[in-house]
Symmetry: none
Subunit: 219 residues, 2 copies
């Protein structure tokens, strides 16, 4: 597995990286937010171990960036004990788990292993809905074997719907998932995205459950 460690304390970064390498992973290190973003853009990681307090910015912006680009890379956040608020925001922004610094290296390794295991099983190959096939690993959608280009937000919506096809997802849920918590969207942004998705994929793919939200059409 290929991992990225984002940590400005050099000694800690090296120690963590070494521990992960002994466990058989390929590990890159970034000491600044800039470096991390460059690295993430250049390569696809299987997991990111992220310190929130960085010299040139808040680590959470990296998480939001990833999620806005619809990247599902798991993120494990490391934070000092007094930054509990950041921890919570981190989980809401789409992090997968957190560690309290200073952390035990073996515990870190255990968390990493747990997340990778989880991610692997949810990565699931491919999802079929009538004429639509969704390939999460490649973030590609096919309509009758013809590839369809989706924007990041469109993908995020379809991904969330198709992950639990039996569940109705409310617009409020989408807003919590696509944007932060405090950031209120005053309008019908979700409706607009759904409309665009339907234009690309056909009418039957996403069903409206009036008064509740949206759900995958039954194929």
């Amino acid at each position: 597995m290929r991992l990225l460690v984002v940590e400005d304390e050099h000694a800690l970064a090296e120690a963590a990286a070494e521990h992960l390498r002994e466990a058989g992973h390929a590990v890159d290190i970034a000491v600044k937010l800039d470096d991390a973003q460059a690295a993430v853009r250049a390569t696809s990681y299987d997991l990111i171990l992220l310190d929130l307090q960085l010299p040139d910015g808040d680590g959470l912006t990296l998480v939001r960036d990833l999620r806005n680009r619809a990247a599902s890379t798991p993120v494990l956040i490391a934070t000092a004990r007094d930054q509990i608020m950041q921890r919570i925001q981190g989980l809401e922004a789409g992090a997968d788990d957190y560690l309290v610094k200073p952390y035990d290296l073996d515990e870190m390794l255990a968390r990493v292993a747990a997340i990778l295991r989880r991610a692997d099983s949810s990565r699931a190959s491919q999802r079929q809905f009538g004429p639509i096939s969704i390939v999460p690993s490649a973030q590609v959608v096919y309509l009758n074997d013809a590839p369809v280009r989706l924007t990041p937000k469109e993908w995020a919506i379809l991904d969330r719907l198709s992950r639990r096809p039996d569940i109705t997802v409310s617009k409020a849920d989408f807003e919590d998932a696509l944007y932060g918590f405090g950031s209120e969207v005053e309008s019908n942004a979700i409706e607009a995205h759904v409309s665009r998705l339907r234009a690309k994929l056909g009418r039957g793919v996403i069903e409206t459950v009036r008064g509740f939200g949206y759900r995958m059409g039954k194929g």
Copy 2:
């Protein structure tokens, strides 16, 4: 939804309760830890909004009590800005989220809604009544395996009935649950909805208990 507001500042308690009632919840107020514990023992709440600083004790004991009794009632904690340690302890004791006092009423409402949503979707499962199956997570009802489309109000009524199938629910209870508390529905709105429900689901599903209210039909 039935909520409990635990807060010794009378004005704030009333303001919060009023705001929640406007959102359609039934709200009780407790001004002391004692009252809160009595209330929790007497009734089952869907969520508790808890001030930690109370005249007769620490609000955390309430959280611990709940968790010790394996009650999963979600708890939203409110604390002053400088009580960070309490917040941390609160989250570790099993609270679901926290608010910094003084808080904006609308933000409070948003947090409450988010927690209720989370709790509701995790409650999941599925309820069977003869030819009817109710899937709360998808907000869908099946009649002989054919999906039936219900409006939000219809769903609310069926949901409330099916949650406690052995209980007869009075029309006043429905009005409390579907509208605010001091709601004046001058007409037969509930009867009309029940009628429309029966038209969609069949006659046997909802029984009339003349003079008292309605109850799920025994399948």
